[in-house]
Symmetry: C2
Subunit: 243 residues, 2 copies
């Protein structure tokens, strides 16, 4: 095995899986996104090379370049860890990297991670499904690339109207459009929205608003926006955790 596509989880290093932490601890080189925090990167050996493909003056590294980099690194190292925020296959573009590795005949394995799509609502005290309230959860991203189609606002709105939960990743910049489209397709203006910024990190910050207040609500990024009846629940423990 040479390349490991590893989900780093939502931020907190203790939310890596046991297997991910073990593989990271023996990495020769770690190729990571901007969203992967230093606490997670510290789990790699000090000697391991760290390559940040998320940050760059101007723009992130193009996906094709990352794919080529992984193939190239696999020729030189025993354990290449491609570390991705959340889960590699949930808006992580891991599928594109797996395809490139398959085509190059490079051995690889994929380790799932805790997606912020579920963990961010959880930290806001929101169960994405709840008996008698929500029987489905839909995850989408607010960040579309040029030429990609609009989300199916009519279908998403139908789901919310019937109690379903919609979770939007990377949606802060599009929050005015999201709110307008959903309300335009029948979602009530007073539907609760729960917002978790910097989920599971020390900077974690939870807010709630009505859907018609979302556009005017100031939100730090990265943030996860949870829309639907469950967002009105707040199951956060009242007593502070003892540590």
């Amino acid at each position: 095995l040479t390349v490991w596509l590893v989900g780093a989880g939502p931020g907190d290093p203790e939310l890596l899986t046991v297997r991910a932490a073990a593989v990271l601890a023996r990495a020769d080189v770690v190729v990571h996104d901007a969203l992967v925090g230093s606490g997670v990167l510290d789990l790699a050996p000090a000697r391991a090379e760290r390559i940040d493909v998320g940050k760059r003056p101007g723009a992130p590294v193009p996906q094709g370049d990352i794919n080529e980099l992984l193939v190239e690194l696999a020729r030189r190292h025993d354990t290449v860890v491609r570390l991705k925020g959340g889960d590699p296959y949930v808006f992580g573009r891991g599928g594109e990297e797996a395809l490139a590795l398959l085509e190059a005949n490079v051995a690889f394995e994929v380790i799932p991670g805790i997606s912020a799509a579920f963990a961010a609502p959880l930290t806001a005290g929101v169960p994405v499904t709840h008996r008698g309230v929500s029987a489905s959860v839909t995850v989408l991203t607010g960040h579309r690339r040029h030429g990609e189609p609009e989300p199916d606002w009519a279908a998403l709105s139908m789901l919310i109207v019937h109690g379903g939960t919609v979770v939007v990743l990377m949606g802060v910049g599009q929050r005015a459009v999201i709110a307008a489209e959903l309300m335009g397709h029948g979602v009530q203006a007073q539907t609760t929205v729960a917002i978790t910024a910097h989920a599971t990190t020390r900077r974690q910050h939870v807010m709630r608003c009505r859907l018609d207040q979302l556009a005017a609500t100031a939100i730090e990024t990265p943030a996860v926006i949870t829309i639907g009846a469950v967002a009105a629940l707040d199951l956060r423990p009242r007593r502070p955790p003892a540590g």
Copy 2:
């Protein structure tokens, strides 16, 4: 902290989070579902009491009884671990338990887990989102309780027709209905379905079929059914993992 609602992940003990494994290792009592395997339970101390609330002659323990049990155990033990397959808040009924603990003023914390909703497709080589193919993923359960409404088949079908992914947990018994409803609402009969039984365990078994073959396909339980264009991808590594 007394009660921990802990996601046990999809089956493989190495897919617990680091934090979940640490809390389990110091549990005084573990209250677990039938879906939590022995490999995971072995992470608890030998001295810890294990209470299986998933199996019983006839039927599982009613949710209200589980809620009461957790409140009662919290009065007698320092570390009560409520261990749930997957993630506590993704079709895990963890929200109901959190509500009961809040109402009883019992301190608790929730630790997310890897949901089979994402991990089962991953083990089938399916990325639930993939650039240019799927920009959303919807998770629902085929197991509805008496009196609960039907899934919104029209909305789900619209999402699939536009490339979205639908993942059905506990849907084996309802697979004929699921296929008929989706095809009746415009999903093409030749849409690929990927099925993962016993995901991430030694008994793991992956199958693919067309939507119109789903009803006639024999499937072991538990299984996760992934429907949509991404299911036609198969990104499983061709070389066997070296271990």
